[in-house]
């Protein structure tokens, strides 16, 4: 056992269990970013818990040397909420996927977000059901051909970030599985956030949905298709920040402008503005770049904090049941 003052390394957060994702799966990169972030923020393994549901992503807790609870399909946010009420000071991470978090568990995710429970929720979005062998998921784009949709899917997908915003989330961020720097920054911000931190991670499923995000994740196209937002900085992208986002007040929408010629028109990112967040989260390739980083951060009291503040005794036992038994009219028989 290490003494509590030791600075832990990434290695200290890697469990001894053999990792069993498919070779080349984006989950490996995410795991590395998470363990690195844990070391970087000075997390304590005994104070850290990973709670997951069901799916490829939900294997995550086995591979982290912290406390872990691999629960049932879709219910991780509910279980993590109970844990957070029992022990509000723990660092609780929820690992879920697009099927787990937005299909079977959509209701719990909605409520964890609107309650602002102090959970770091990592949603690995690969737009497919991997563990059950490749059926389309609620984030699959229209026309996605899978064993269950041989003619292509025909129900409109949900956009995770917009769902979170609609649910009342107060922290919404995005990262790409293999983007060490961007994802690392997002994970550290999520860790520091006091409340529900929702992080969508674009994760490549090499077996069932390979390259589904390549329109913006490939290195060659990254500059033109990724917009890394930063609070207080202009919303620019492209080679050397050549392009910028401006607001078209006539159509109440975003437009792309030449950032050098029309620098004054380029919007500056305000992470507390939900309207801007909605516009940014709605952007899709090829018309727009994809917004990455902390898109929305607007803190409010975390649910567990309010729960304890409102609880008459902060969950402490200050009265005796023997007295409670007599808090009514009683009579004696001799």
């Amino acid at each position: 056992m290490k003494a509590a003052v030791d600075r832990l390394t990434q290695k200290d957060f890697e469990s001894e269990q053999e990792v069993r994702w498919c070779p080349g799966c984006g989950d490996y990169a995410i795991l590395r970013s998470v363990t690195r972030a844990l070391a970087d923020v000075g997390a304590r393994p005994e104070r850290t818990v990973f709670v997951s549901g069901i799916g490829c992503s939900s294997r995550f807790p086995y591979y982290v040397e912290t406390y872990g609870f691999h629960t049932i399909h879709g219910r991780a946010p509910a279980i993590a909420t109970g844990l957070k009420l029992a022990q509000p000071d723990l660092d609780v991470w929820v690992v879920t996927g697009d099927g787990d978090g937005l299909s079977i568990g959509g209701n719990h995710l909605l409520h964890a977000l609107r309650r602002n429970v102090g959970l770091k929720i990592l949603l690995f979005n690969n737009e497919v059901y991997g563990l059950t062998k490749g059926q389309y998921s609620p984030t699959s784009r229209l026309g996605t051909r899978t064993p269950s949709t041989p003619g292509g899917s025909f129900d409109a997908p949900v956009v995770p970030g917009l769902f979170a915003l609609g649910a009342g989330a107060r922290f919404i961020a995005r990262g790409i599985d293999v983007d060490k720097t961007g994802l690392g920054r997002v994970l550290e911000a999520a860790h520091a956030f006091d409340g529900a931190a929702f992080v969508e991670i674009f994760q490549n499923c090499i077996v069932y949905n390979d390259e589904v995000f390549s329109s913006f994740t490939s290195k060659e196209r990254a500059a033109d298709t990724q917009l890394h937002v930063e609070h207080g900085k202009p919303l620019v992208f492209g080679e050397g920040g050549s392009k910028g986002l401006a607001f078209d007040s006539k159509t109440f929408s975003l437009k792309i402008v030449d950032a050098r010629e029309r620098a004054n028109d380029v919007l500056v990112h305000d992470e507390t503005n939900p309207t801007l967040a909605q516009l940014l989260l709605s952007m899709r390739t090829p018309e727009f770049p994809v917004a990455l980083g902390v898109v929305y951060r607007n803190p409010a009291d975390a649910f567990e904090k309010v729960f304890y503040a409102k609880h008459p005794t902060q969950m402490k036992r200050t009265a005796k049941v023997a007295d409670a038994l007599r808090q009514t009219s009683t009579w004696r028989v001799k």
């Binding site: 056992m1 509590a4 469990s15 269990q17 393994p45 005994e46 104070r47 850290t48 818990v49 709670v51 069901i54 807790p61 086995y62 040397e65 912290t66 406390y67 872990g68 609870f69 691999h70 629960t71 049932i72 219910r75 509910a78 279980i79 993590a80 909420t81 109970g82 844990l83 957070k84 009420l85 029992a86 022990q87 000071d89 723990l90 209701n107 719990h108 909605l110 409520h111 729960f307 609880h311 008459p312 005794t313 969950m315 402490k316 036992r317 200050t318 009265a319 005796k320 049941v321 023997a322 409670a324 038994l325 007599r326 009514t328 009219s329 009683t330 009579w331 004696r332 028989v333 001799k334």
Partner: protein
């Protein structure tokens, strides 16, 4: 029939009935309080409609409250009421068939208009049609008498009308020789902030009481006197099932010295427990109203994983939704108590009516081999002890535990000798020896050899980081394991763990009647009162009949088979189509005779007596004849 000149009866059954907005439930609970203070035993049965405010005057909007009071032991709310107070024609129509022949009926005549009669579905006024022949009927314009009494306080007509339950209560108090001071005190406290309503209700209560006393009318209003109960010495209070459950949960937390997180989703008839626990913060109890039934059980599991006592509660349909998560708690070996306030089903069924039809769901209702201990409370006060026992088993064996109660128990009330909490053993979780952790060991699944319970290790504990979950785990290390022999071993272990509960429970005893002989009546849950009275009644005649009432339904007490073998025949009365009967056949190879009732109403003592007599008669006939093979 009640005659004032007769010697005092042992007990009397009274029923108040009116519109769901008439304040009948309040009248009933206040009458019960006064009954307790008068030193009488009691049993109650609130019988209210599913609609919050059904259309006034209709039969489906009738709310009733039945009280059985007198010398003890009173274990039921009574079979047929001997007194009915009916506030409108619908209340009369619904309740008339329940009454004992010759019962006393007090009618509020104000509502016996052609409109009121039509709404109740009466073609003719029952007062003239002969429908009330053979009953003692007292007609009073309670609405007008109340209005006269509260006139000085300047209430609106509708507010004045709302005082009529207290007028009627005043009259009933006089009839039973109960004082009204305690009720007055309650009104003054309850309506402290609204002077005119407070004074009007007190005036109505006093006026009703005085009405009975008034000399020229005394002859018309009979005085009903019952014997007082002979209680063992001690300090007593009245208790409802939901209140006893809440106090039992708080007591379990105190005995375990851990906080309690009660996670629930509103559902009839389980919600009173949620409301009561929400007031018990000072006992280290927290309440979380989840977004749905699944989230409720999951949050409770999360709390237990975090070292807090996680409890969830619902009724049948909600329990069905929790099923998968209960399997998770079994696999992860976490303590959890699931309280099921049973109601009529299937599906939404009869939300406010009582039934015992979730026994299969509790014992068998999960995917795979997934056993859990199942307990049932038998009376309102018994809920206290069963709640403590459920938490004790959950922590000792590290398992989910089912606690079955029902709509009847949740709302019924009885007197209760306040228990001495110092007499209860502390609830202790298995822990890990810190010396072993120092040496780098992780004995996460180092089980107690007797209970097979593992240590309860919450996140935050240094040196014991580990993973649990729904996947099968290695019997020794707890790591994921798909090994065939290991799954066999783990499945067996889970079964043995639940079976081991039997080592810790007291032997089953005969509650009343013969220890062996002709007929064993075997029951569980809230039928206790009716079965007790019925068996006692028949046993007094010298018949060899005994009552075996089960608290532990899974596993059974180890001596149950032997006990039943001492009887010629087994009769199982239950409010379902034979679920305990199935369990007895399954576990003990007993072939019981069934008595099943699913009307949403509790058993009447008379129904059980008739069944017992029928079985005894058949047995004596069979003994004369050569036994059929």
């Amino acid at each position: 029939m009640i005659h004032p000149e007769q010697p005092q009866p042992e007990s009397i059954v009274v029923r108040f009935a009116g519109d769901s907005g008439d304040g009948v439930q309040l009248m009933g609970t206040q009458f019960v309080g006064a009954t307790a203070l008068a030193g009488k035993d009691f049993g109650t049965f609130p019988d209210y409609p599913a609609e919050i405010r059904a259309p006034a005057g209709t039969t489906f909007g009738v709310s009733a409250y039945q009280i059985h009071l007198g010398a003890g032991p009173i274990t039921t709310a009574g079979d047929a009421p001997q007194v009915l107070v009916a506030f409108n024609p619908a209340a009369l129509k619904v309740n008339l068939p329940l009454l004992e022949r010759g019962a006393l009926i007090i009618l509020n005549t104000d509502s016996f208009t052609s409109r009121g009669l039509a709404k109740a579905g009466y073609d003719a006024d029952p007062r003239q049609s002969g429908a009330l022949d053979g009953f003692q009927v007292i007609e009073l314009d309670i609405a007008k008498l109340t209005a006269d009494a509260v006139k000085p306080f300047g209430l609106s007509k509708s507010d004045a009308g709302r005082c009529k339950n207290f007028w009627a209560l005043g009259l009933v108090q006089w009839m039973f020789g109960h004082e009204i001071e305690s009720i007055e005190a309650w009104i003054r406290k309850r309506f402290a902030t609204n002077e005119s309503v407070r004074d009007a209700n007190v005036a109505a209560l006093q006026a009703g009481h005085a009405y009975g006393e008034t000399a020229e009318l005394a002859a018309a209003i009979p005085q009903l006197r019952t014997q007082r109960a002979k209680f063992p010495p001690g300090e007593y209070r009245g208790i409802r099932g939901s209140e006893a459950l809440a106090l039992g949960i708080a007591a379990a937390g105190e005995l375990a010295d851990r906080p309690v997180l009660f996670c629930s989703y509103p559902i009839t008839p389980a919600s009173p427990l949620l409301h009561r626990l929400a007031q018990m913060g000072a006992h280290g109890v927290g309440v979380f109203q989840a977004e749905d039934e699944i989230a409720a059980v999951c949050a409770a599991i999360g709390a237990s994983y975090g070292g807090t006592i996680g409890i969830t509660s619902s009724s049948g349909p909600g329990i069905a939704l929790k099923t998968e998560a209960i399997g998770l708690a079994i696999n992860a070996e976490l303590p959890l108590v699931i309280i099921d306030s049973q109601r009529g089903g299937p599906s939404t069924g009869l939300p406010t009516k009582t039934e015992q039809s979730d026994l299969y769901q509790a014992v068998y209702g999960r995917n795979a081999d997934a056993p859990v201990p199942v307990l049932a409370a038998r009376s309102p006060s018994d809920c206290f002890d069963v709640a403590i026992e459920a938490v004790r088993i959950a922590i000792r064996h590290m398992t989910p535990v089912f606690l079955l109660t029902d709509g009847y128990l949740a709302n019924a009330a009885e007197p209760w000798r306040i228990p001495d909490l110092d007499a209860y053993a502390p609830i202790e979780a298995r822990t890990v020896d810190p010396a072993r952790v120092q040496q780098g060991e992780k004995p996460i699944f180092d089980r107690d050899p007797e209970s097979l319970g593992r240590p309860w290790i919450a996140p935050g504990t240094p040196g014991l980081m580990h993973r649990v979950g729904g996947l099968e785990k290695d019997v020794r290390t707890g790591h994921i394991s798909y090994d065939p022999a290991n799954h066999q071993a783990m499945t067996r272990l889970r079964a043995e763990k639940v079976a081991s509960v039997a080592r810790f429970i007291p032997p089953q005893r005969v509650e009343v009647g013969a220890e062996a002989g002709d007929l064993a009546v075997v029951g569980w849950g809230s039928t206790y009162g009716a079965l007790y009275q019925a068996v006692q009644q028949v046993a007094r005649t010298g018949a060899k009949v005994g009552l075996i009432h089960l608290r532990y339904l899974n596993p059974f007490p180890p001596n149950l088979g032997e006990l039943l073998a001492g009887f010629e025949r087994v009769l199982v009365p239950e409010m379902n189509m034979g679920q305990l009967a199935t369990l007895l056949r399954d576990r003990l190879d007993v072939r019981p005779v069934q008595l099943n009732k699913v009307t949403g109403q509790p058993f009447l003592v008379s129904e059980v007596v008739a069944a017992i007599k029928r079985e005894l008669a058949e047995l004596s006939g069979a003994q004369r004849k050569p036994r059929a093979v």
